[in-house]
Structure formats: C-alpha cells, structure tokens
Symmetry: C2
C-alpha cells in the first residue's frame, strides 16, 4: 500500500502532524491546541491457536502504536473478517472477548466495529488515542549519544514458526504472554520520566514486522544518525535461538536486512543476527534515551514490570544500522 | 458480529455516549466537555467495476455515519485487503485515489492505514469525527408528529444487481454518482437549521444494508414510535423499478422485512415494497424533522444539492413500521 500511496498526488494538510514521511505506522492529526489524535489500524490472520489469545495479541499489537507515540488510548473499533461457513460463531466470541480484555486494560472504550465474511479469519482494531500536539514521540527525534533501550525480548517470529511445525511447544505460553502484553506500562514509565526530566526520551518506535533492525533503520533515516546494535546484548525470547538453530525462520529476515541496509560486523553469530532481523508480532518499544537518564529509565521500566535491555546507541550519521559485538 | 458482541460481559463506560444499544452503526466517545469522538469503520468487496469509483463509493459509505450523527469528519485510515497475485498494483492506486477524493471532499485528513494480502479485494475506511457531546443526532431522538425526509433515492441494490448481470448499463453512471455522493451537504444543511431552530431535527439515521425499512425500524424501536412510510412517495433511483420488474433483487429484501417486522398495507405495489426493503450502499440520510420545519429543511437540502423527499411520519407507539399508500 505504501507504494500505491506514494503515487497519489501529495496533499499536505497542516493538521497532519505526523504521517507517512518517516515511515511511522500511525498518523497524528491536530484537533485543538491541546489535543492531537493518534490514529492507527492493524489486523491480521491468526498467529496463535486459541481464539481468545489471538484476540488479545491482535488487540495489543494494534494498540501499540498509540503507546509508541506517547499517547493514551481512547477508543477502539473491531475489524473482523470471519469465515462463517468454516468456523463456529463461538470462535468469534472468544476472539472479541480477547480483544476486549486488552481494550479495557488499555483504558480505552470499544466503540463499535465492522465484520465481513471472508475465507480467511482476520482480526484487529482501528484505534484512536490522544496526545499533546507538541509532546508526541516519533522516530525522527533521536540524538547522537542516545542509548537504545528495548522493552520486550526478540524472536516471536522464530518461535511462532517452530510452533506451526509442532515444535518447541514448551515455549508457547511465554510467546503468547509476551505478544499479548500491552506496551502501555512501558510508555507510561517513559512518559513519567520524560515529564520529570524534559528531553530524557528522544525517539520511540515499536518493533513489529520489520524486526528490530528494520525499525531502527527507519529511526536512523528519520533522525539521520548511525545506529549501533550490540549483538551480545540482544534479549532472546525463550526458545528463539533454539528455533533459529533448528532452522525455523520466517521469510522476513533477509528482506528486513535489505530494507535496513544492515551492516553486520565479522564474527557475529548468525542466530543472533536472525534475532535482530526477526519480524515481531506485538513487539516491544525501542526507546532512545539520553545517556544520563538510562538508569532512571531502566529502573522505572523494571518497576513497571516490563523488560529494559540496553541494545545499542546512536551516533553521528550518515544514517546506517550496524550490528556489532 | 453483533450476536458475538452481545454475549460478551457488559462493560458500561460513562465515556461511551452512544454504542450498540440502539443499533446505530457508529459509536460516540466523550473526550472533553466540548468534544466527543464519532468512531466508525466500514469496508466491503467491490460494488462497481472501475477501481476509482469503488474507492469513492466505499469512502463515502464509511464517512456517512459521522454525518448521520451530526459530526464533522476529522481523520480517516485506509483499510485494504488486496489480492496481490490477481490484480495489478495500479488498481490499488486507483482505489486509494478514489478514497482520497472523498476524504478531502469531507474535509478530513488521511492519517494512514493498513493492508493485508487476501484472495478477495476489500476496501473501506476507519473514520474519526467530532461532535459536541450534547448535540449529536441518533436514532432514538424521534418524536411523535415528526416528518421523515430522505436525501437520496432508493434502489442501489436493485440497479447493482441488474448491472452485475449485464443489464441496465444506461443507469450505471447515475448509480455510481448517487453512491459516491457524500452525506456531508445534507448533514450540514440539517445542522444549520437545527442550530437556528433548536429542536427542528429529532432523530437521524443513514440508510445502508438494512434498507429504508430496516433502518427506520431501528429508529422506531429506539424512539418507541410507529413509523408510517408512504409507498407513493418513495423516490426511486433511475432504473430501480425496472430492475425490480425484471427480477434483479438482492437477497437482502425479505431478511430486511423480517428484521423490521414490516407491516405492508393491502394493494401496495410489490416493486415499491422492494424499493423500501432494498439494501443500500452509501444511501442517504433519513431525517426526522418537526412538522413546522419541514419546508425550511427541504429548501436547505435542495439548495445544498441533495434530494429532499418526504417519505413518511412518526406517531405514537408501540414501535412498528407500516408501509401504506
């Protein structure tokens, strides 16, 4: 769709505070001097077996953009493509219940939705959040010297691929819990720090289909900085490295490397490289934090129950992504 | 989806000013004392051949709920299911261009979107509008004595069905123009009257898949009033009655009659009854207007370039829908 959108006549509207220019997934539209709307939509085919889990993961994933921009989720609409002839209606009920779990947890209101008949089940949300028009985070805000902190471990694509082949079943529960976890707590922790120490947080992005490497490359381009990722510091989801060693890769890794123009240092373990490239479903936030505030941020994130791994840093450009030791 | 939603544990949130209780298609969520968000989403498979026309019709249809509630459209997100393997990317570009035409015409901002691969093409929008939290229209606001004014002719399902069979090609252009027309001008005209003469407009709904009869039955139930529709006054889209006479009916008519519990007076032309039951794509607004304000409303609607047909009236309940002479 991005290609098709690029060919449309450019319409610039001063109300659009953030659009597709920096490859952010969501858009921000000014409403008043004090309020901007964060708008995002995401839906996909099942990534886990249990309908309720699927609903929870899909909703957490769709809500994530609002948190990645520092916003508060206000309302959500269900988006459903459902194969009436193949699945029982109870399955849909479970999916919607899972979605509602996460909408409520996010403090948002379910305002409606739309369903169509389809051969293939798909579910997700369109979400509206709010943020101050001068205080949102985006991926163009990184500064040379910033440290990169990641809030969820990597490898949902690897473990999911293994599970689809009936392997690594012992890691399924952790995978689902990770993907169903909202990025709300991480965003809240970072926001509170940023409010107390203005400028603590530079850029923020969430990690989804382009993997850690792909999303930091967008940040590198948008911020015109060099991103150095530390292979030895990347957190792996339980079972992710094992899945990689056993050959359970998604097809997204190499396209993500190309998309990012990734430079890999010599001697980097290829399974760790896979982790860095692995497409994530409902991945964590990647926060660019001022060096002096790293420990304060990590403390708040850990207190909030999220991960807080230092995975790299930003330095002067040109834009590039390097995976080193 | 409605059935599945009903089975979820009821969550009442005071911010949800309007939800599914009265079968309105969209939801309204309070944001501040002055601002409520109108949230709606709709998407469907192609209803016309030309991609750009399809984009325009789908977008006009999705935007309509905001106008039916008296709101102003603020932002829109594209929702795309696209068969990459079957259609050229240029087709998607045309669809999105058509959608953008209508988003711009509505005064809204395109804030992003999401696309997935699918066997079957689908397109639509998730839309956010704003309205004053105490000044929105809904279908529970009808009053005994109100007159029903419809802003678009009926029969898009009938003519579309004929076109699918290669018939009535001469009416295609009018059909497309009708479906692609925004309900913005009608809503604006009604709003201006309602601002000048508070109470002029009672309930409003837009006419879509349940047909005129189905949507007025929701209004009858929500307002606990009897709706009398006048068969001889129903406006027909060019070719619609001919399509009915030639047997080009959708499968929606009788389910709509059952849904509404329609009572049809003796001697009513069955083709006019079809018109009343015909599922509409991007149909007009149905406005309940105070008797003394009918002519003022009609004048404003006609000046705004929309239709303005008096098609019935409301009287004391119990709730019912009657199609008479």
């Amino acid at each position: 769709m991005e290609e098709a959108l690029k060919k449309l006549p450019r319409t610039t509207d001063p109300r659009l505070l953030l659009g597709h220019a920096h490859a952010d997934d969501a858009g921000i539209v000014a409403l008043t001097d004090e309020i901007a709307l964060v708008q995002t939509v995401d839906f996909f085919t099942p990534v886990v077996d249990e309908p309720r889990d699927f609903g929870r993961v899909a909703a957490a994933n769709a809500l994530s953009d609002v948190f990645a921009m520092g916003g508060r989720a206000v309302s959500a609409l269900n988006i459903v493509c459902f194969p009436d002839s193949l699945l029982e209606p109870g399955v849909l009920g479970e999916i919607l219940a899972g979605g509602q779990d996460k909408i409520l947890e996010a403090g948002a209101v379910l305002a409606g939705g739309h369903s169509v008949s389809d051969n293939e089940l798909k579910y997700g949300l369109a979400v509206t959040g709010v943020v101050h028009p001068e205080r949102f985070w985006h991926n163009a805000g990184g500064r040379s010297g910033d440290v990169l902190v990641l809030t969820k471990p990597l490898g949902t694509g690897l473990v999911s691929t293994a599970l689809k082949k009936g392997k690594l079943k012992e890691h399924e529960a952790t995978l689902i819990a990770t993907m169903a976890a909202l990025n709300a707590a991480a965003a809240h922790a970072a926001r509170s720090l940023d409010d107390e120490r203005p400028g603590a947080i530079g850029a923020v992005t969430d990690i989804t289909g382009y993997g850690l490497v792909g999303h930091v490359s967008e940040l590198a381009r948008a911020s015109e900085l060099r991103v150095s990722l530390s292979a030895s510091s990347l957190p792996a989801l339980d079972g992710a490295l094992e899945a990689s060693r056993k050959g359970f890769h998604t097809r997204g890794e190499e396209p993500n490397a190309v998309y990012a123009g990734l430079e890999t240092a010599e001697g980097i373990d290829k399974h760790v490289r896979s982790l860095a490239l692995d497409p994530q479903t409902s991945g964590g936030l990647l926060l660019c934090v001022r060096q002096e505030d790293v420990e304060a941020l990590r403390t708040r994130l850990l207190d909030a129950g999220t991960g807080a791994w230092v995975v790299g840093s930003l330095s002067d450009g040109p834009a590039a992504v390097v995976l080193g030791e």
